[in-house]
């Protein structure tokens, strides 16, 4: 008799529990990967709900289920479970959110509406690998991965100070992406990180898939082809710029972090510059600036000179140019456009194809099409050299996004040069300068230290001076603490 009564009681309890659970799990159970299971031990029945696809089976089996079988109540269970941040809640939306973040929800009817949430997220992530986009021969070989936790870990490892602050925000109604804004308290300007935070909070978007979404959404001028945040995959670079008083943004699921405020010159400094001797680094940097100018200007100059200004060509060079162009039926602008387009096609095809096929395409396109078009008399071999060099030069830009911009702005120059010759090139250049003058990054001038002219910041713009002269933080970031280290002490060497 007793036995039957007891049985009845438990079954009634089970029923009750199932009902409460049902109200919480109502929306969730529509999905087939949402599992509910009932664990009955000697005392009580627990109901466990979780997303099979989000949770780690190991944790569930070894730690959770194992302890659930021993516990009498939720209270006892929380004491038994070996997790640091257990939550107990009755808020339905909170529970659902937690479940969607990979938590396991445990409930029993005795403890009424109390639900215990245990984090058991399965960590499916890539290993930290060497950087691919910003590869450097010397220096650390770590790069960010798609995990927020790991990325911040990589940065914190390099800056073990309490002043490094991470402010978390969630962006996207669908994607609920975690976005972290990092800065060093006491160095970074309040205005800078507050601007970033405010812009992130003001975002109204359904999902962001990568940090590049964020760049496009929160940069000062969204119609400019120039990115106004640097994206980098190097934790060492992030650590360095945080020390300079800038703000970094980490986006969950993005292997690239963002840096702001920044200047146009920073886009042309590879982080490897700091690992090399200052003379070598400065030389490389100057080469890069030359490459950019070359890449933008050389084809338009060719078109301008050959269309309008034959007089500019020195007499020794005339024969070379004339022989290469005698049999060509096209005007210089068409010739140049065809070749530039061919290069862009090659680049695009190479970028869309798997690596191995891409290489083949590069060889076929580059060598075969190039030679064939010269032999067929469609383009002059001088222009072929020029265009190929210009393309090569545009790939020297360390930040990929900027390289794309450089390749794009070449085309307006080309058209203007065809239309009004050298003057057109000069006018396009003026347009470019004015555009850069008008740009700002987090409200800070983009063309600094050229304008506003800040002689002190030139130490790390076109060239990189030795570290002992880099004792102050860049004025551009308007840091609260401007001094990096004492210069006179740094100069002094004990024998």
């Amino acid at each position: 008799m007793f036995r039957t009564r007891k049985k009845d009681k438990t079954s009634a309890e089970n029923k009750k529990a199932a009902e409460t659970i049902q109200t919480v799990f109502n929306d969730l159970s529509a999905s087939d990967d949402f599992k509910q299971s009932f664990v009955t031990n000697r005392h009580v029945t627990f109901c466990i709900g979780f997303y099979e696809t989000l949770t780690e089976a190991d944790i569930l089996h070894k730690d959770i289920l194992h302890n659930v079988q021993k516990a009498v109540s939720i209270e006892e269970l929380t004491a038994l479970l070996p997790f640091e941040d257990l939550k107990i809640s009755e808020d339905v939306t909170l529970i659902q959110d937690a479940l969607l973040q990979g938590s396991v929800c445990i409930h029993n009817s005795i403890s009424n509406k109390q639900f215990c949430l245990v984090k058991a997220k399965s960590a499916k992530e890539r290993q930290v690998a060497p950087p691919e986009v910003e590869f450097s021969v010397v220096g650390p070989k770590e790069s960010f991965v798609e995990s927020y936790q790991t990325n911040i870990h990589l940065i914190r490892k390099r800056l073990p100070i309490s002043n490094l602050v991470v402010k978390e925000r969630t962006v996207g109604r669908l994607s609920k992406t975690k976005v972290g804004v990092l800065y060093i308290e006491g160095i970074a300007n309040k205005e800078n990180y507050n601007t970033v935070l405010q812009r992130i909070e003001d975002l109204n978007i359904d999902q962001i898939a990568d940090s590049s979404y964020l760049t496009q959404l929160i940069q000062d001028n969204q119609h400019s082809p120039f990115p106004q945040f640097i994206d980098t995959e190097r934790p060492d670079r992030i650590a360095a710029v945080l020390g300079e008083g800038k703000v970094a943004i980490i986006v969950d699921g993005a292997p690239h972090a963002l840096i702001g405020p920044t200047t146009i010159f920073e886009f042309f400094s590879a982080f490897e510059d700091y690992y090399l001797n200052w003379l070598v680094a400065s030389f490389f940097r100057l080469v890069r600036f030359f490459a950019v100018l070359f890449s933008i200007l050389v084809t338009p100059l060719y078109v301008a000179v050959l269309t309008y200004h034959y007089e500019l060509i020195p007499k020794d060079m005339v024969s070379t140019l004339v022989t290469s162009r005698t049999a060509i039926p096209l005007p210089p602008i068409l010739e140049a456009l065809i070749l530039e387009l061919a290069i862009e096609l090659l680049r695009e095809a190479g970028a869309r194809l798997p690596t191995k096929v891409g290489q083949t395409i590069g060889i076929v396109g580059g060598i075969v099409i190039g030679t064939a078009s010269v032999e067929a008399g469609l383009t002059s071999n001088v222009l072929l050299i020029i265009v190929a060099l210009a393309a090569l030069a545009s790939f020297t830009t360390p930040v990929y996004q900027m390289g794309n911009t450089i390749r794009l702005i070449r085309f307006p120059f080309l058209l203007m040069s065809h239309y009004i010759g050298l003057i057109g090139v000069a006018i396009s250049f003026c347009f470019l300068l004015i555009h850069l003058l008008r740009l700002s990054s987090l409200g800070r001038p983009f063309l600094e230290p050229l304008f506003p002219l800040r002689v002190f910041d030139l130490k790390d713009a076109l060239i990189r001076l030795p570290f002992k002269y880099q004792s102050k933080r860049p004025i551009q970031a308007q840091t609260e603490d401007t001094v990096k280290f004492n210069q006179s002490e740094a100069k002094h060497k004990n024998e």
Binding site: Y308, H309, E311, L312, I313, P314, K315, D316, M317, Y419, I420, G421, L422, I423, V425, A426, I427, F429, C430, F431, L433, I434, H435, L437, R438, L447, L450, F451, P452, L453
Partner: protein
Amino acid sequence: MVQKEEQVSPFLVFFLIHAIQVGVGILGFQRIVIKSGGNDSWIAVIAAAIIVSAVIFILYTLLNRHQMDIIQIQKKLFGKYIGSLFGLIWIMNWILLTVTVLSSFVEIVEVWVFSTINIYVFAFIFILLTYYCLTGGFRVVAGICVLGTIIPMYLYLTFLFPLEHTHLRNLLPIWNHSIKEMGLATRDMSLSYLGFSSLLMYYPYIKNAKSSQKWAHFGNILTCLIYLFLMVITIGYFSEKQLSHHIWATLSLWKIVELPFVERFEYIGITSWVLMILPNICLLVWAAAEGIGKVVNIKQKKVLLIILLIVYILTIFMSGRERIDMMNNVSAKLGLFLLFVYIPVLSAYSFVWNKLKEKKK
């Protein structure tokens, strides 16, 4: 009152003054000055610079006293209507200067580089460029002044090429001209320094404007040094008679430049000069637009469009040597009168006016 974010550092006045003084004039100032100054013209360059410095000093005393721009000062001193009328004269002066600079440059491009260029399109693109610059505000204008000074600096190096063929003995004998001739030469020379009157408009846009005076003088000195350098080379390189045939002596100097990859260097020179003309036009149009904005309350963008339209029409209308010469004359006379006669008088008047007001109190 101008907002703090729109203000620029005082040392930028150096570039603002220098950039606007060096424009189209520098390409051909030598002929006019040497006509009366002969081989002593280099003294006229220095004399004109000293006079200009004196005017800058007067401008600063006037502006420091009132801490506002010229339009507001005139309104304050002469009442709303007469003051505005005088303001319109300044605005006309700036618009005229703009048109002079632009049409001269268009002419140079047409004659030297590109005889088939479509003036309508060229002027239009230039106006578009100016509009894009000016909608960015005064900071961008100041920026283009800095870049327009720094980037074309390399051009001055190319004037070392004619140095090889320069006979500095041409400078001797020093001072063989009468005071009257030198006075004329100085007057003609001071035309090449014009344009700095825009200071009257951008003064409120400078942080600690009082402290910027030394920078203004430095800017003027740099201009003087560049003119001096060119003048000495020109006197040594050309004979006086030869020079009377060269409207643009500076461009003729470039003809001697020989580089292994470029045959006619003046093409590169004139092309780079776009970057030096742009600050001139931007700053002048900015001053005019700001001035109109102060006289009547219209939105800055509309004013800008109207001014640019006027400049465009006048520039196209003013093509041809005679017309440009005529306009040069008019704008020069107006500019000279305003700066060297009107401003000292105004400054004296404002001094007395201030004193009287203090006494009344």
